[in-house]
């Protein structure tokens, strides 16, 4: 027969452990929500005094499956994460135009937030390079560049809006070009960004809309090189 005090002790400890689990889960959710909310509040509209800056957009073309640089002037905020977000939203808004060579539906804010953080030192296995070849030729520009990350190197976590992913055309080429164009544009304007990962609505997703793999870490150098790659 178990002594009464041991039974009481067991019940008390059991209740305490269940309560602590619940509290921990809730704290983790709140921390995640606060992080997302904080990044979303970082404005993309520059103050009126912000000077126009030269921005290079790496614009996708469905017909040739390539990226081409296009320089525009854009007022940009100071803070790097807000800058990255402003540049990407400008890039993606370009695709909804009537003359777009990579047509995407119109949307106000396709990129909800961009987080920049130091490149983790030991995840080489998960990194993959991507590249597109020139039209009608085998692109040999692909292939992982397994360089050792430098201290200044940043990984950009691009958090796409749910609605952007849901309304994106479904297809291997169109989704791949959107991903590559985001990676290459980030690299062109923030050279310290060497790697990119994607979230949709704050969550990890398998694909953009059924095709482009969003579980990978993309290397920006490879996607940028792809635009002018010779086989």
């Amino acid at each position: 027969m178990t002594p009464r005090y041991q039974k009481i002790l067991f019940v008390v400890l059991f209740v305490a452990s269940v309560t602590m689990t619940a509290v921990l889960v809730r704290l983790r959710e709140r921390a995640h929500d606060r992080l997302l909310a904080g990044a979303m509040e970082a404005g993309t509209t520059a103050p009126a005094v912000a000077p126009l800056e030269q921005v290079t957009l790496m614009v996708a073309d469905d017909a040739t499956s390539t990226l081409a640089p296009e320089t525009i002037a854009l007022p940009l905020p100071e803070e790097p994460q807000a800058r990255a977000r402003a540049v990407l939203n400008r890039l993606l808004s370009q695709y909804s135009g009537a003359q777009s060579l990579h047509p995407l539906p119109t949307m106000a804010e396709p990129v909800e937030s961009v987080f920049l953080m130091p490149v983790p030192q030991a995840n080489g296995d998960a990194r993959r390079a991507v590249a597109t070849g020139d039209s009608g030729r085998a692109g040999a520009a692909g292939g992982a560049i397994l360089s050792v990350p430098k201290n200044a190197d940043r990984i950009a976590i691009v958090n796409l809006a749910d609605q952007f992913a849901a309304s994106h055309p479904s297809g291997l080429e169109t989704e791949t070009l959107t991903v590559l164009s985001i990676c290459a544009t980030l690299h062109a304007n923030l050279p310290e960004v060497t790697e990119v990962r994607f979230l949709v609505g704050g969550q990890e997703r398998a694909t953009l809309h059924g095709h482009a793999d969003l579980t990978q870490t993309y290397l920006t150098a490879a996607s940028a090189a792809a635009s002018g790659a010779q086989p």
Binding site: P120, T132, A138, G139, P169, S170, G171, T174, A222
Partner: protein, 253 residues
């Protein structure tokens, strides 16, 4: 808070590495007599695997003009193209294996398992899309790797990626060819790209993803929908012709 987030991604990456190692394929050097006999039998056949993308709960893209009678799901188009290409290839003496013969859901690992067990000489993954024009060919972006005892399942395609690029070029030539011996064939515009392809990245065989998109005129207006039977037949005939070239280049068995 930021640290907490980073920790979670880092542990996720570690878990991924662990799974990849657990799933490592053992490519034994010392083949038994039985395995050798199997290999000889396989060498006599020329095996092509056709992988109709999507299926079951994964419909893929919605194809055809919206509200049109021909409006259909990508999973149905890829399955029907796989079945028709199979008929064309069997008539030409190929041994053909389809990853799915009905509307069933298959994950990428299941597809790669079929291909790897078949010891195929080519794998064609079929997609269809409303975006872009002509035919989009995709090869894995994995860097080439020399044969070794242990190959991670998730990147096994690295062993064959150079052959996959050659197969991509052979397909490209067939689509852009205007026909030989006076026969007139309308060339189909082709784009060739490389990216991370979760199914193909695990396949130990020359593999190319073929995405068929509408044919468009210079203004971008659709001339032939992907659901158009004649257009599909044109694409499938070009694929069959390309695989004949691929077989002859490999040394016809």
């Amino acid at each position: 808070m930021r640290n907490g987030w980073r920790r979670r991604t880092a542990s996720g990456a570690r878990a991924g590495v662990g799974i990849a190692l657990l799933a490592a394929v053992f490519l034994g050097q010392s083949a038994s007599a039985a395995v050798q006999a199997d290999a000889e039998a396989a060498a006599k056949r020329f095996v092509v695997v056709l992988d109709a993308a999507h299926g079951g709960s994964d419909p893929g893209a919605t194809l055809g003009a919206v509200g049109d009678e021909a409006e259909t799901l990508e999973k149905n188009v890829t399955l029907s193209m796989s079945q028709r290409l199979r008929a064309l290839l069997v008539a030409r003496g190929f041994t053909v294996i389809e990853t799915r013969e009905s509307d069933v859901a298959l994950d990428e690992d299941a597809r790669a398992t079929v291909v790897n067990q078949a010891q195929a000489q080519a794998c064609i993954v079929l997609h269809a899309s409303e975006a872009g024009s002509g035919v989009h060919l995709f090869v894995s972006s994995l860097p080439p790797m020399q044969p070794q005892a242990m190959v991670p399942w998730k990147t096994a395609q690295a062993l064959r990626v150079e052959s996959s690029l050659k197969l991509g070029n052979t397909l490209n030539s067939a689509f852009t060819s205007t026909g030989r011996d006076g026969e007139s064939i309308e060339p189909i515009p082709v784009t060739l790209g490389r990216t991370t392809l979760p199914g193909i990245d695990s396949m130990i065989c020359p593999a190319v993803a073929v995405e068929i998109a509408p044919l468009r005129d210079k203004e971008g207006k659709v001339v032939s929908e992907v659901t158009d039977a004649d257009y599909q037949a044109h694409v499938l005939n070009a694929l069959a012709a390309a695989l004949l070239v691929w077989r002859s280049e490999a040394g016809e068995p």
